[in-house]
Amino acid sequence: MSDIVPTAAAAARELIAFRIGRQEFCVDIMSVREIRGWTPATPLPRAPGYMKGVINLRGAVLPIVDLGARLGLSTSEPTARHVIMVAHIGGRTVGLLVDAVSDIIQLTEDAVQPTPDVASDQVRTFVKGIFAVDGRMISLLELEWIVPESEAEAA
């Protein structure tokens, strides 16, 4: 028994699940620093539509990405009920605007299925795979390309 548990633990990941519209997504819990309520952001000039602007996170300037818009889903004006997940992506700290955080789930790699062909290119850029939890479908997101490096990429 003792030599089975570590193997299982090594393969298992903790993920944080959240909701955008009716869909559920999740990201690795290790990349999420904190979760906070929506506060109005300062818009940036000539920023892509999914960049909601910047907010003050204890003295740091935090860019806010509307994750729904970034994934090409329908988007609505954020309210106080919306949530910002502060994530660490490739050396930067970025706020991800989502509708609500729902769950923390444990997952082993083999439970993940490849993204079906039906998804759009935009979705397939960010969705690494999908899996089922209690009959719900959850998409596993890769955050690496969420924030564009340069203006050229943003366009």
Binding site: T42, L44, P45, R46, G59, V61, R92, P148
Partner: protein, 721 residues
């Protein structure tokens, strides 16, 4: 912080930091000696600097550095003991040696290319020659040539002789050293055998061990120290050299050093030192010679030696007064500054909430909040002061530069520095080095004339470059002036015309001509010289100064010289800004760019080609830029008379009027980077956090003006976007 992973590496980093300081001390000391303002303590300090570099380098096995430092140190030791005069050629050699030593340090650090071996070897030979060879005869000649030396013998009063003799080495025939280590000394991993070996390098040592304090084995405490050594050193050296062997342990032992005066110095020296190296022996013998020759009345003088010895021993004492400082990782200071910045914002937010809540100003909360505000300000100022550093660290590098450029151009240059203690934020200090270096090179290369030309012009053959720093109205001002030929306006004008920078019949004032040298692509050097050429000119200097939020100006008098004046903010962390609003957004415009603000009257605004607005400002049509539109905050242009026009001047001197909805006020803002977590945004220089806790963007005035110009040049693009 990969350094921290390896403790040895971390110590090495500290060693190199210390090296920087020591090299600075070394240079300062040598320059003082060169200027003739040196006392014994200066020479001691110079010696200690080289000695410490050598010591540290030895610990890290930096062979080349140790070898060079050793030769350097040996010569300095001769100077320190007074066996060699500090004559100009020696000092020049020492200065060059300090440059090479600095090269060795950078090479050991892996920062620079390996040291120029030939140069290093040549200097080693020169230093050795100065130490042994040509030095000794010169010393004799010097001493003998002194009229006082002749007078010496005829002086009837021995007391006078003692004061005159004081600068001579206080040599005794030998020394009895009683050395009783404390347990502490061993605890610091010092080894008696090594100390004795060090001492034996001065001459033959007779060692007697007194183990009488050693208890029985049963009572012996392993960590205790029980032994006492009595060491008889038969060598003609001064007391300081004897004590130096125990330099690092002096505080952790009982040490007495007594002169062995039983044998007369004259006979003892040759007897006791048969196995010394001959050159050293010669040096010692010659150094001693004058004393002996003028010795006839010496019988009463002999006791002088012990009198002189304590003074020699006392000199190291003032050196111990180290400045009370600590080394702190810059990251920690930056973190503190960030947190304090946040504290200031939180405090402002709290104050705003309290006002909004309608509490009376006299209420306990309001009063407490005011005190808090004062404290917060004080903390912020104190934290900023931690980062403040004297410009000395940059100024210190310049004497070497001046020497090198002077040598390369064949010009004789004297560098005067003033206001080295002027403090400015560390980030500013670091970025000052390059422009100052460049301007000093320029001053020597282009400003100063060749010695013969200077003499012909009735000036001293040696040119002067003055580097000064001072605080003026919340900014630091750096002045670099030379007493050279000044700007040749005819030539500058001719070059500007030939490069197409100005039209041939342009009417320019002297001041405007002087400022032409800041234009990109302007270089007055006939050929690209190794010194100030390389294709970078004053335009690069101006750009780097402007990047720091600074300004540069020039004043020149033909035949008398030129003065460059840099004016820079004291810190890059805060900025004086005008808080404005455009289409419901709060923005900050840097105050340095703003000329003035005005409310446009309908008659002042005109349209060129239908949509490009210009405003008549001081008889000039100035482009009027609707910032809300340019930034994409709104689609329809603001009616100019409903807003406020702020006249700005860009770095290139072009003027434009920025149209905002309203001006909220003027305040100092803390600069926050957008790039840390996002990326650069066109038209935005940085961000800041206002009192209400929201982020406001700081405008990049130059980019906005340039962008507006591009758009109006290609209106179809404007429609497309």
């Amino acid at each position: 912080m990969t350094d921290a992973a390896d403790p040895f590496e971390a110590i090495k980093v500290t060693f190199f930091q210390e090296c920087d300081e020591l090299l600075g001390d070394l240079e300062t000391g040598l320059l003082a000696i060169e200027a003739g303002s040196a006392d014994d303590e200066t020479i001691n300090a110079v010696f200690r600097a080289v000695h410490s570099v050598k010591g540290g380098a030895g610990a890290f096995g930096l062979e080349d550095l140790v070898r060079f430092a050793h030769v350097f140190e040996t010569l300095l030791d001769e100077l320190r003991a007074g066996r060699k005069p500090c004559d100009p050629p020696t000092v020049k050699a020492l200065l060059r040696a300090s440059d090479v030593l600095a090269d060795h340090v950078s090479a050991a650090r892996g920062q620079a290319a390996p040291v120029d071996e030939a140069r290093s070897a040549a200097l080693v030979a020169e230093l050795e020659a100065l130490t042994h060879g040509g030095a000794a005869p010169a010393a004799i000649a010097d001493v003998l040539a002194l009229p006082e030396a002749d007078e010496f013998g005829f002086r009837p009063v021995a007391f006078d002789f003692s004061t005159l003799a004081a600068p001579e080495p206080a040599a005794a025939s030998g020394w009895r050293v009683t050395f009783r280590p404390h347990a502490r000394m061993y605890a610091k991993a010092n080894e008696t055998a090594l100390l004795l070996r060090e001492l034996s390098r001065l001459g033959p040592v007779e060692v007697a061990l007194d183990a009488s304090a050693l208890p029985d084995l049963a009572e012996l405490v392993a960590e205790e120290a029980y032994l006492t050594w009595t060491l008889d050193l038969a060598a003609v050296v001064d007391e300081a050299s004897v004590r130096e062997a125990f330099d690092f342990v002096e505080a952790d032992c009982d040490l007495t050093v007594e002169a062995l005066s039983d044998a007369p110095a004259a006979t003892d020296a040759p007897d006791s030192a048969p196995d010394l190296d001959i050159a050293a022996l010669l040096a010692r013998a010659t150094a001693e010679a004058p004393v002996i020759e003028s010795a006839p009345p010496v019988v009463e003088v002999a006791p002088v030696v012990p009198v002189a010895a304590p003074t020699a021993a006392a000199t190291p004492a003032p050196a111990a007064q180290a400045a009370v400082t600590i080394r702190v990782d810059l990251d920690r200071v930056d973190r503190l500054i960030n947190v304090v910045g946040e504290l200031v914002i939180q405090q402002a937010m709290l104050a705003q909430r309290v006002i909004e809540s309608g509490l009376a100003r006299s209420s306990g909360i309001s009063v407490g909040l005011e005190d808090l505000e004062l404290l917060t300000r004080e903390i912020q100022d104190s934290v900023m002061a931690i980062r403040a550093q004297p410009v000395k660290s940059v100024f210190q590098r310049m004497p070497r530069l001046v020497r090198e450029v002077g040598e390369m151009t064949g010009k004789r240059v004297r560098l005067l520095t003033e206001g080295e203690a002027t403090e400015v934020d560390k980030t500013v200090v670091e970025r000052l080095a390059e422009p100052i270096t460049h301007m000093i090179r320029n001053a020597i290369d282009h400003g100063l004339e060749m010695p013969e030309d200077r003499l012909a012009a009735g000036k001293s053959g040696e040119g002067t470059v003055r580097l000064a720093a001072l605080h003026r109205s919340g900014r630091i001002v750096i002045e670099i002036s030379d007493d050279g030929r000044g700007i040749n306006r005819e030539r500058v004008r001719g070059i500007a015309v030939s490069r197409g920078l100005i039209v041939e019949d342009a009417v320019l004032t002297d001041d405007e001509i002087d400022n032409l040298i800041f234009l990109p692509g302007f270089s007055t050097a006939d050929a690209i010289s190794d010194i100030s050429g390389r294709g970078v000119g004053m335009d690069v200097v101006r750009k780097s100064i402007q990047a720091l939020g600074g300004r540069i100006s020039i004043a020149s008098v033909p035949g008398k010289g030129s003065t460059f004046t840099l004016s820079l903010p004291l810190t890059l962390a805060v900025l004086d800004g005008m808080v404005v609003s455009a289409a419901d957004q709060t923005l900050v415009a840097p105050l340095t760019a703003i000329v003035e603000s005005l409310t446009p009257r309908p008659g002042d605004v005109h349209y060129v080609g239908g949509h490009d607005a210009v405003i008549l400002f001081r008889e000039q049509f100035t482009p009027l830029i609707d910032v809300g539109m340019v930034m994409g905050f709104r689609d329809a242009a603001l009616t100019p008379s409903d807003g406020v026009a702020v006249i700005v001047e860009t770095e290139s001197g072009a003027r434009a009027a920025l149209l905002f909805d309203a001006i909220q006020g003027q305040r100092q803002v803390v600069i926050k980077s957008l790039e840390t977590n996002y990326r650069q945004v066109e038209g935005v220089a940085a961000a800041t956090i206002l009192g209400d806790g929201r982020v406001a963007l700081i405008l990049d005035v130059d980019a906005i003006v340039a962008n507006a110009r591009r758009r109006s040049a290609r209106p179809e693009l404007k429609l497309a976007s």
